[in-house]
Symmetry: C2
Amino acid sequence: MSNDCEEFVIHPDNVAHAKKTLEDSNPTELAGFFKLLAGETRIKILLALSEVELCVCDISTTLNAKQSAISHQLRYLRQHRLVKTRRDGKQIFYTLEREHLHPILAQTLAHMKEEEAS
Amino acid sequence: MSNDCEEFVIHPDNVAHAKKTLEDSNPTELAGFFKLLAGETRIKILLALSEVELCVCDISTTLNAKQSAISHQLRYLRQHRLVKTRRDGKQIFYTLEREHLHPILAQTLAHMKEEEAS
DNA sequence: AACACATATGAATGATTGTTCATATGAGTT
DNA sequence: AACTCATATGAACAATCATTCATATGTGTT
């Protein structure tokens, strides 16, 4: 019935090392960051914005998705500083907030073309 | 009532460009990849394995999590070729499958230390 | 001021994902 | 062969997340 392995340390050195590695990182933040990129709609938005500025309307046309779905995702991206907005009349234009773009994401977006091109 | 913006193209050039960018990438695959990293438990497992080999028991001790939760996540990581296994008697040891580790993830794991250390 | 358009948002619904419990499998030990 | 330990897995449940619909806000136009 019991699974005592959780009460004994089987490989103390490795476990100690792994625990230290964990403590030295920030898994929660990391996972949170990847969650942003883990949605197809959000990734599409980021890719769509990777070279041009688009208004909400353009984005929903591009992705062929409902305006409100896009708006909700944009809010999420906005809150996490991945995109920024500019109002022009009735329209609101979105661009990538490149300064806040985690180097990892920047690289990813860059990588994409190369890989797909080959 | 209507929101016609989805039927008219507001900024044709930008939309065309964005559509092309989208077609040239693979958003579904990309999102799928990030989904792997978007779980706190999975990221912790990957971090824990980043420098040492661990058996399932060690991992659940390290993360202070239930064995079956870990096993389920390990299966997921295995299926996606992020980790590989080696059996030694009753125990099964997990290591990162570095060859299959997407460059993005490899960099991320490398980055971590540097950033947290500073 | 009334209207139309672009975007945002709240609430509800549906889909996806993670964890748990119970149990199965497979290896070593007696 | 019976038993124990380590891991895996199926099914149920809980939690999280994305999308929809209805409606609100804010801007420009008549």
